[in-house]
Amino acid sequence: MTSPVLEVRSLDTTLHTPDGRTLHVLHGIDLSIDAGECLGVVGESGSGKSVLARTVLGVHPRATRATATGQVLLNGEDLLTAAPRRRAELLGTGVAMVHQDPMTSLNPVVRIADQVTESLTNRRRMRRRERLRTAAELLAAVDVPDPARRARAYPHELSGGLRQRVGIAAALAGSPALLLADEPTTALDVTVQRTVLDLLDRHRGTRGLATLLITHDIGLLYGRARRIAVMYGGRIVETGPTEAVTEAPAHPYTAALLRSVPRVTGPLRRVLPAVAGSPPDLSRPAVGCPFAPRCERAEAVCSTEAPPLHRAGDGHTAACHFPLTLPIGPASASVSKAQETV
């Protein structure tokens, strides 16, 4: 049996902000990704998707202090307890990130060649000509046309789609085992999004890259991610094979999310069924189900008791007192949070 590239167990992350607030953002996150596999993480804004990626990397915005408990295992080694030097080594060689906005992750005054080869030049001192050649090769691998010329360019001279490909080239340069892609195509238009996602799929296939694909667009995961994890209020509320989750959602939040997707096919809906209410206040301790204030199916028990985890045979799980499709009655009694890894 192969062991997963990334395995996250019972991860809780709390952020301490400079203005003295404490936010319990992530609650009991369990997930795992095998080599060559894409796990899609979908959820509304503020559900904790980016904090999840940042906790794996151990990088948070300046002035924010974070405490994480649980385990973040990269090829079996726990990043949370590793000594700082070992952690930096594991992350430097094993994990790469593709950001939402390539303009913020690329340095505007540094040539593309130097940024794309950054994770290489840190280790091997390359001569300039060699660096340009290597950069052009890396750019060609992500379908950047005219790579030799583009290697000499600065980020602002490229279109958004090309910049994101440069971001991907930089991420892939160090041959990571795990790619964290946080909304990699949100800033791109659909035709370019299609080519960038196809590109990520291709490299995932040929390099056996484990990919965590974060998005708020559940439609984008269809046909790409084998499994989906749906996040709500810092928890994974539903997980399973992409088809099962999108065609027969078990959690009321997933169902509501799917209903509110604006579609180009099917009957025209002038008013989209938005999920009423607002996301949970993470600065307050949550009792019961975090979705209860917005849930159509909520009963009294939902706001007092943490929902149990229901399962189907195909690894489809949902944390809900009254799931829509999974067998009624939890697989194991009184499971208070997701125990099974995604």
């Binding site: 789609g161 035709t191 299609r194 439609g219 579609r263 096919t265 607002s278």
Partner: protein, 356 residues
């Protein structure tokens, strides 16, 4: 053979025109020479209606939006608002009019002052409110509530403490606080998750109708465009390539580029379709192809496409397309033989596309 004239359909009384742009062109000066970002575009925004402007990155959508607001003024063409030519206004009169033309930008975080609280960010937009006696605190609370950010939870936060989606909603609340006449939303919901997106789209639509706004909604997401707009204009390398009622255009696109955009939309349960695009990258706007600017990526291009710039022609009442071989036959008399041949030829080509 003369094709039968289509029956005359009585058109409903159109809503009053608020903003009209005619012959709009924008040329940016760049180190590599003049860049024609927008070429001779005509647009009409009507009261209580939303026009969607669709096109890929670099097609000139933001250049159009800025030209409408004279930030900076267009290189050529006129923009009138309620009949007044903006170019004829004194700087002072233009300043007085500006708050009635509001824009919500693509990048929420950089458009918000990082040191202000959410409450102050919305309150300062009220400086442009037409009624000086307005109850500021109440309006701030109402606008934030309208975009799904309760004042009690978000009022004291600063932009850095918001997720991307939350920041964009603050920007929208700010624009609405000034009681605008024209609302231009440039990729304003692209960064929002679907539930927030649905809330904001419903809100934009409702406000456009209730407050008599004339809205221009810029997006590359046709699903979103379908939900929010009445009409759509598709932009390709600075030129309009197709225009018409949104439902009709999406049901049967006439331009190959519109068809490609439609095929690229990811949707749950919809298999990844073939966009039909040739694997070329969008050409540089500094050096656009001769003739039809789409021809390097168009599966139907022939030598006429390299030679002649296609003009906008009518394919149905209220629908125009700029293509020598549109996917729908061009309406009576206008070059009908060629167009219909083209359409027929393309039908077989489309159905014969290899699937991936």
């Amino acid at each position: 053979m003369t094709p039968a004239k289509p029956p005359v359909v009585p058109t409903p009384e159109p809503c009053p025109v608020v903003l009209r742009a005619t012959g709009l062109s924008v040329v940016h000066r760049t180190r590599s020479g003049p860049l024609h970002a927008v070429s001779e575009v005509d647009l009409t925004l009507r009261e209580r209606r939303t026009l969607a402007l669709v096109g890929e990155s670099g097609s000139g959508k933001s250049s159009i939006a800025k030209a409408l607001l004279r930030l900076p003024p267009p290189t050529a063409g006129t923009v009138t608002v309620d009949g007044t030519d903006l170019a004829a206004l004194s700087p002072r009169a233009l300043r007085a009019l500006r708050p009635r033309l509001q824009m919500v930008f693509q990048d929420p975080v950089s458009s918000l002052n990082p040191r202000r609280t959410v409450r102050d960010l919305v309150a300062e937009a009220l400086d442009a409110h037409p009624d000086p006696a307005v109850d500021r605190a109440a309006v701030v609370e109402r606008q934030l509530e309208a975009v799904g950010l309760p004042l009690a939870l978000f009022g004291d936060r600063r932009p850095a403490q918001l997720s991307g989606g939350q920041a964009q909603r603050v920007a929208i609340a700010r624009a609405l606080a000034a009681e605008p006449r024209v609302l231009i939303a440039d990729e304003a919901v692209s960064a929002l998750d679907v539930s927030a997106q649905a809330t904001v789209l419903n809100l934009l639509r409702r406000l456009t109708e209730e407050r008599g706004l004339a809205s221009l909604f810029i997006s590359h997401d046709l699903g979103v465009v379908r939900a929010v707009s009445d009409d759509v204009a598709v932009l390709q390398l600075g030129r309009l390539c197709e225009q018409g009622p949104t439902e009709e255009v999406l049901a049967a696109p006439a331009h190959p580029y519109t068809a490609a955009l439609l095929a690229a939309v990811p949707e749950p349960g919809r298999p990844l379709g073939d966009t039909g695009l040739l694997p070329a990258d969008p050409p540089s706007p500094l050096d656009p192809p001769s003739g039809c600017r789409f021809r390097t990526r168009c599966p139907f291009a022939d030598e006429r496409c390299a030679r002649e710039v296609p003009e906008l022609r009518e394919v149905a009442p209220g629908r125009t397309v700029a293509c020598h071989r549109p996917l729908l036959p061009v309406a009576a008399a206008q070059d009908s033989a060629v167009a219909q041949d083209g359409a027929a030829a393309q039908d077989s080509k489309v159905s014969g596309r290899p699937s991936r």
